[in-house]
């Protein structure tokens, strides 16, 4: 025992001497900017290489996939006046990939459409360009995503890092670099945006900007950014409870709560007014757009998403038992109820970490319980989880694994298995970047408990299921057997994770109150 203790001391000393003896010492030692630069360029490279692979619905008429949807929106916004974008007409057949995202997406499509028209006019001409696929067209579309990522997501992450690490530079520099890699090289986000084809980087980037602004105590900027994010993809509403409760909690602590709240309200209203301006001239047009944004007719869930409704539908046939109206109500109640604990915590004791946990918990409760959730929606909870990666080191790894796994059937359909494997490996290589200090830590904490045995078992099962999914045909009676199994595994893990993070958030509160008590005592 004594010998061991001595050794540990020696090791610690060696660590102190070689504090920067990390694999990435060459850029880490210079601080956040240089680490960010290196990792960002690497991240762009990874994105550019993923975009070599096929997109969703490539060469698959008549409906194609999300790629065609985005291209079609460019075509529509470029060739029709603003007022007709959401209006079903002879020029705009809404049943064929009609716009169903808020106006900011439409504006973004318009700008990208101009770019495409400059280089390849045929790809966005009205009517004739349906299902347009060409070598250059694909490159141009891919470059629009790449540039959106570089122009919105990356700067937002940099802003977040400055705010998060700016005032307390106590963290080890290599840990900061690790954190940057975890946020920027998020395999799910890269696969969906640059493989499957979507623009999540824009709405998520705006959300990160808003989060950073909140952490920097610039509440008004945060509100504007979050409104922009909401207006790019309505899915950003998953984060709304956290923003709302944190900002409310902050306002309540100040001298003049009513004034503060009304200031925020005015900013939000103003941003919405500007974005919705073309549709504000009559009530009907607003309702028309709103109706497009809420596609309730599509049912409570689609495909095999690892959320509560879809998973429990194995036992309870929700769609058959209830009408859509009551399902809407049911899902709303469930979502609000599961959000509530984290919201209450933030209103009572708003804190930086608490806010991040709140984002994670509220987005997860939306993912698990809200109406019409898609597999891709897992990106939303993943975002705050990656921001908290240094806090949730171990759980984050497993979360990423299951998040990727939950999208596996989707990516398989898109023929993105090679990037899936490569990015999976890349993520775990980056996660386990060899570092002497971390190594010591890992060795220290390998104790076998019931939970860790269960987690390892589930992990092995999921690895096995990957192989089974790829190699074995499901029985004819249950063609979606493996999808259901994947969903079940992922759902059970997500539920465990949510319990854990909710508990963590409330534990923060305990720390906070004890700190306040200490201060009072002193």
């Amino acid at each position: 025992m004594e010998k061991k203790g001595k050794k540990k001391v020696l090791k610690d000393k060696a660590d102190a001497v070689n504090d920067d003896d990390d694999l990435c010492w060459w850029f880490v030692h210079k601080g956040i900017e240089s680490s960010f630069l290196c990792i960002a360029v690497f991240g762009l490279l990874v994105r550019a290489t993923v975009s070599l692979h096929p997109y969703s619905g490539a060469g698959n008429p008549p409906k194609f996939g999300d790629y065609e949807a985005q291209r079609h929106w460019m075509e529509i916004t470029l060739n029709l006046p603003v007022k007709e974008w959401y209006h079903n007409s002879t020029n705009n057949d809404l049943s064929y990939w009609g716009l169903d995202y808020p106006p900011l997406t439409a504006y973004q499509s318009y700008v990208h459409g101009i770019f495409l028209r400059y280089f390849e006019p045929a790809s966005v001409s009205l009517f004739n360009s349906r299902g347009y696929e060409s070598y250059l067209g694909k490159q141009l579309m891919r470059w629009t995503v790449l540039s959106s990522d570089a122009l919105i997501f990356f700067p937002a992450v940099l802003y977040f890092l400055f705010v998060y690490y700016g005032n307390h530079s106590s963290g080890r520099k290599s840990d900061v670099a690790w954190h940057i890699a975890m946020i920027l090289i998020n395999p799910c986000l890269i696969l969906i945006d640059h493989g499957h084809f979507q623009y999540n980087c824009i709405s998520l980037g705006l959300t990160i900007g808003a989060i950073a602004a909140v952490l920097a105590h610039k509440d008004l900027v945060a509100s504007v950014l979050f409104c922009l994010s909401l207006n790019h993809k309505q899915m950003s509403a998953y984060f709304a409870p956290a923003f709302f409760s944190h900002l409310l909690g902050n306002c309540l602590k100040r001298k003049n709560p009513v004034l503060e709240v009304s200031k925020l309200g005015l900013v939000v209203l103003g941003t919405f007014t500007i974005i919705w301006w073309p549709y504000l001239h009559s009530r009907d047009t607003v309702l028309e757009v709103l109706f497009r944004l809420a596609p309730f007719e599509r049912g409570i869930y689609e495909d095999y998403v690892a959320n509560f409704w879809c998973t429990t539908s194995i036992l309870i046939k929700w769609k058959r038992l209830f009408a859509t109206q009551s399902l809407k109500f049911l899902s709303l109640v469930a979502t609000v109820l599961t959000c509530l604990p984290s919201m209450v915590q933030q209103i009572l004791a708003p804190s930086r970490k608490g806010f991040l946990y709140g984002l994670l918990n509220s987005s997860f409760s939306f993912y698990l319980f809200s109406f019409q959730v898609h597999e891709k929606s897992i990106l939303l909870p993943l975002l705050p989880a990656s921001l908290l990666a240094t806090e949730l080191r171990g759980p984050f790894k497993l979360l990423m694994h299951y998040a990727l796994f939950s999208m596996f059937p989707l990516l398989w359909r898109d023929k993105l298995i090679i990037p899936y494997v490569a990015l999976y490996a890349l993520f775990f290589l980056l996660y386990f970047t060899p570092s002497r200090r971390r190594e010591a830590k890992i060795h220290h904490s390998t104790t076998l408990t019931g939970l860790s045995i269960l987690l390892t078992f589930l992990y092995l099962c999921s690895l096995l299921l990957h192989i089974i999914y790829l190699t074995i045909h499901p029985p004819k009676k249950y063609p979606f057997l493996f999808e259901a199994m994947i969903m079940l595994l992922c759902f059970s893990h997500f539920v465990l994770f949510v319990f854990y993070t909710n508990a963590r958030q409330w534990m923060l509160s305990g720390q906070y109150t004890s700190k306040v008590k200490e201060k009072k005592l002193n």
């Binding site: 060459w26 850029f27 630069l37 550019a48 490159q139 470059w143 990015l423």
Partner: protein, 530 residues
């Protein structure tokens, strides 16, 4: 015991670290699978097919595809071994007739992954070279070699097996550096039987091994000479023996040295001859202006498989013999040095120098050949600041000169990002190394107790030493940016389809400047060393 344990620990962290670098690179290479590949892809596929389906004695006679086997026998054996696995995966890959221009996913995956796996040889070479280095230098070397953008561009996109071959070269150098000359010679002989283009360094090997290994008294020296000779002969016998047996040596040699090809490759490698051609063209235009009747050459230089028609209009024709003599002349200072004082720690430098000479003055040089000296130079770049400065510039120029290989729009962001990433990483790592060394110098001189007054001047020199690249180098590198912008945007915009060869010519000329600089720098460094 403790020491041994520590060593074991070091070794395991070393392999762990290497595998980490390799893993990251392998992920990127996996992602690059669908990227553009050149005709070299079909060349290698055809070789898989012909080595698999034909008996050995027909390998060098086969002509069903224009891509005849023109590598030495070991490479053919290597393809033969690979073709066994290829047959297991998809028999059509190795079918000599049905497989022609076969482009299905299986063949792409198989060939791409075979490149990634065979890069393990390079990894082993790096492992051997850096197992006794300190931590930082080790990571630096991994960064320079395993993450080399040039290798990724040529091997994983354009398609070749350079990583594997350079791995053999690195292995050979590592043995020479350790003083195990026999093994060094052995691996070099193997390398020569894989790809004969590496023979440019053979004179250096010959002189060095003769002096360092065999020049040890009459009896012992003779014994060593004999043993080295036997080792090399065994390797060559293993390679060429079967063909000698079938009496096909002449055919093999004629396939391996196609002097019918022109002085320059399809795209002019940035070497000395670019200036020669440019001068010729310039003179021709000038003299025509003066009213002289100068005939324009029939064949253009950029015609790919050009014949041996003399494309010069004014200057004398260049023959393979001329280039051969020029390479030998350029090599001679190095040979002289190696003869005078054969030092194991200078071997890497000499070998790199030999490949530089071959690149600059050789016949029908490919732009990819610049990897042959850039990769070995990383061994020395890790050790001294001077070398690091030179390497920084050279690596960027060499990678940039590979850009024309990937001319499609799809790969454009990738090649730019690869170069950008590598330059940023090199910049950070070298300047970190410089700062650390400079700091060490300050503390050392402070310890020796010099007077305070000299400390000011000392810090000034330290400041100077911290600079990775001077203003001339900076201007040159920004010039690269200018060349790229001209070629990609300004030229098509301003001139349209007129003078389509100018952007490529500019790239060649501009990179050739950097290559000549590198050669002069290496020559100077070589002459300075004692």
């Amino acid at each position: 015991m403790e020491g041994q344990k520590l060593q074991m620990h070091e070794r395991s962290t070393n392999t762990q670290q290497l595998l980490w670098f390799f893993g990251i690179a392998a992920c990127i290479k996996l992602l690059l699978i669908p990227s553009y590949h050149s005709t070299d892809f079909e060349v290698h596929r055809h070789w898989l097919a012909l080595t698999h389906s034909l008996p050995l004695r027909q390998w060098y006679f086969e002509e069903s595809s224009p891509w005849t086997l023109d590598y030495p026998p070991f490479f053919a054996y290597y393809e033969c071994i690979l073709s066994f696995f290829a047959h297991l995966i998809d028999p059509q890959i190795v079918d000599i007739h049905r497989g022609l221009n076969y482009e299905s996913n299986t063949v792409v995956y198989f060939q791409r992954i075979s490149v990634i796996v065979s890069d393990l040889c390079l990894l082993y070479g790096v492992y051997r070279l850096n197992k006794n280095l300190e931590f930082r230098k080790r990571t630096l070397m991994c960064l320079l070699v395993v993450w080399s953008p040039g290798l990724i561009v040529v091997d994983s996109m354009h398609f070749q097996y350079n990583g594997f071959l350079l791995g053999l070269l690195m292995l050979s150098i590592s043995y020479l550096q350790e003083g195990r000359d026999l093994m060094g010679g052995f691996f070099f002989a193997i390398l020569l039987c894989f790809k004969h283009l590496f023979a440019v360094a053979a004179p250096v090997y010959f002189v060095y091994l003769l002096r360092h290994y065999c020049w040890k008294g009459l009896l012992r020296g003779f014994w060593q000479l004999i043993s080295m000779g036997i080792v090399v002969m065994v390797v060559f016998a293993a390679a060429y023996g079967p063909f000698l047996y079938h009496g096909q040596i002449q055919q093999v040699i004629s396939r391996m040295f196609p002097f019918g090809r022109g002085l320059c490759h399809a795209y002019w490698a940035p070497n000395f001859w670019v200036f020669y051609i440019a001068l010729d063209k310039g003179l021709a235009i000038f003299l025509r202006k003066l009213g002289l009747n100068i005939q324009a050459p029939a064949a253009s230089f950029t015609g790919g498989l050009v014949g041996d028609s003399p494309p010069f209009s004014v200057l004398p024709k260049i023959t393979p013999i001329t280039t051969f003599i020029m390479v030998l002349l350029a090599l001679s200072p190095c040979l002289f040095k190696a003869w005078k004082n054969p030092q194991p720690q200078l071997v890497a430098r000499w070998i790199a120098y030999a490949y530089t000479c071959g690149f600059l003055f050789g016949w029908h040089v490919h732009e990819k050949a610049s990897l042959h000296f850039v990769v070995p130079l990383s061994i020395v770049a890790v050790h001294s600041l001077e070398d690091a400065r030179h390497y920084f510039l050279l690596a960027i120029v060499s990678c940039y000169s590979l850009f024309p290989l990937l001319y499609e729009a799809q790969e454009y962001p990738i090649k730019v990002l690869l170069l950008l990433l590598h330059s940023i990483l090199m910049w950070h790592s070298f300047s970190a190394q410089i700062t650390k060394d400079a700091a060490a110098k300050v503390t050392v001189s402070a310890k020796t107790g010099k007077q305070l007054s000299s400390l000011g001047s000392l810090s000034a020199t330290v400041e100077k030493e911290r600079i990775l690249i001077g203003w001339v180098g900076k201007c040159y590198l920004f010039g690269l940016l200018g060349v790229e912008i001209w070629g990609q945007f300004s030229h098509p915009y301003l001139l349209g389809d007129k003078l389509p060869f100018v952007p490529l010519l500019l790239v060649s000329l501009y990179c050739a400047l950097g290559m000549i600089y590198s050669w002069v720098w290496q020559l100077r460094c070589l002459m300075k060393s004692t």
